[in-house]
Amino acid sequence: MKKECTKMKGISLNALFLAIIGLFASGLAMAAPDLGVAEQQATNWHAIIMFMIFVGFTLVITKWAAKQTQSTEDFYTAGGGISGFQNGLAIAGDYMSAASFLGISALVFSSGFDGLLYSLGFMVGWPIVLFLVAERLRNLGRFNLSDVVSFRLEEKPVRTLAAFSSLVVVAFYLIAQMVGAGQLIKLLFGLNYNIAVIVVGLLMTAYVLFGGMLATTWVQIIKAVLLLSGATFMAFMVMKAVDFSFSNMFTESIGVYSEAHKISLSEATKIMGPGKLTENPIDALSLGLALMFGTAGLPHILMRFFTVKDAKEARKSVVVATGFIGYFYLLTFIIGFGAILFVSNNPQFLDLAKAAMTGNLELIGGNNMAAVHLSDAVGGDLFMGFISAVAFATILAVVAGLTLSGVSAISHDLYANVFKKGQTTPASELRMSRIATIGLAIFAIILGVLFEKQNVAFMVGLAFSVAACANFPVLVLSMFWKGLTTRGAVIGGVVGLVGAVILIVLSKAVWVDTLAISETAPNPFNGPALFAMPLSFLCCWFFSITDKTARAEAERKAFDAQFVRSQTGIGISGASDH
């Protein structure tokens, strides 16, 4: 029976692979008349072939992983059998999304120092995750963060809340990645946007549906290694060109920047300091807080801590991940400056027609393509194909991880524990998780198509803000504060979630720029974290201390046992049976 089942999976996997190749081919045929220069077409083929190799290889891994994915443990957490180092690489992979690789290098390319500010915010979240969250999380939970917050609080309301806010974060993040993927593929491979989104949706379904966490993790690890190698090569070539001196790189970049943007040298020197990104100090602080604490509330990142066997390995994962992520951000910084040096002054990469209209420096395919053009400049067609394929693979891997965490919220939280009140068999939960995977994939494809014109970086910021305002306060208080009760957690979490979303809707980016309701926004600030996060903490606190019910008393009393387990990991092996 088991064997048959695996065989069936094998067949459908192959069918899927063929379908994807078919889609590619039809997409290319459709796109063919649009391809202008012959040279560009050649580049596209390099990218597509390399991407096909990646897809083929990862599908083989998925097939292998499918054989080992039999239980819910296997599906959600790869049976806890990932090593600390592997998990660290996978976490780094989750974090090195296309938004960070293309987005941050593009930000450095267009405004220098501001790009560094973004990477800093993403980076400083990690020590917080390690010091406050990682070990306790591993010791208390089984599959996801809802397990942790509902450890001593009442399952139904708390789990429902955690599942919903996780799904909101996942949805925002998914939109950003799907839209990014569609646009990237449209540009790099010359494929139709909608087909690109469908290809991403299908591949992600294959990884998650058949291979679960094991396949998702390995796809992430392979991609992380490829991306780090590619970025290292690019940064090396840039540094070689400036004799390995940062000072040379900055001086030359300022010179080129002033010429390319047709501004004075002293004006160009401003890229060496904070610029437009943080004109309003409150926005700067709010962004910083969202990035810093949002990391500790991202469901797909937190889920990774359950794939290792104990708290010690969880700790190791963070150190490894932080090392790779930090290294990666140093590389993107160099790559951004490299793009100023080698891309902004090369007519081959410039969109002169568009520049003539806007009066700004415009790259072919938009400024997010800075890193891709640089790969062409320093490594030629073949290398550019490699980087394009890696950028696509990046999105694919991140989307798979996101989907898996969304699936756990649906099938493990809402279905198995809330709807069925824990009275379910692992087999039916697993079946539900597979249905949820397909459902989420369709949902993601629809979102990707609907939000084609949406600003990607903004959506990622939104995901982090919601994670920081809704997930983080409840998670931290449930682990650290004896006094937290179900009432406090639910009200605090809802206030954080709703508060963040309302503040975002009332801010300029949505109210004026997207919805165009009025000329000025009711909320003058762009980031919600500075206000909504403290408010959420406050509500958790206030509605907990005023909670005099017997249930609240019992929950406070249960803290000691939770505390001992969170510190020692006692009882963790038996956790899988309850």
Binding site: L116, L117, P127, L130, S247, F250, A284, G326, F563, Q567
Partner: protein
């Protein structure tokens, strides 16, 4: 894990030592990270002139080494935490578990 076992662990001096040291370590490091990062973001918000000023007369501004420094510092703090946790705190934790289990065994409660 029953209540009496929880109580025994909570009252175990080694456990208490481990917890208080870990608490001190995590909150100290968190505070360092927070103060430095928030301080930096305040500089970005309120003192752009300083961050845009030159370090030593060249084009490199104070913002660059400070910014890159914070990235490196994040990793260093993680490594410090991990080193202390692995070498000082984990052994205490293991001792606690061993002692508590031994007591449970003696009383025939397991």
């Amino acid at each position: 894990m029953d209540d009496s076992q929880v109580e025994r662990i909570l009252n175990n001096p080694k456990f208490q030592e481990m917890v208080s040291r870990k608490r001190k370590l995590s909150w100290t490091l968190t505070a360092i990270m927070l103060v430095i990062y928030v301080g930096f973001m305040l500089l970005v918000g309120y003192n752009k002139a300083f961050l845009s000023s030159s370090v030593s007369g060249g084009v490199t501004t104070w913002g660059i080494p400070l910014g890159l420094g914070i990235i490196v510092l994040s990793f260093v703090l993680c490594a410090v935490y991990s080193y202390i946790a692995n070498h000082k705190l984990d052994p205490l934790n293991e001792d606690t578990l061993r002692e508590v289990e031994a007591i449970a065994h003696e009383k025939g409660m397991h």
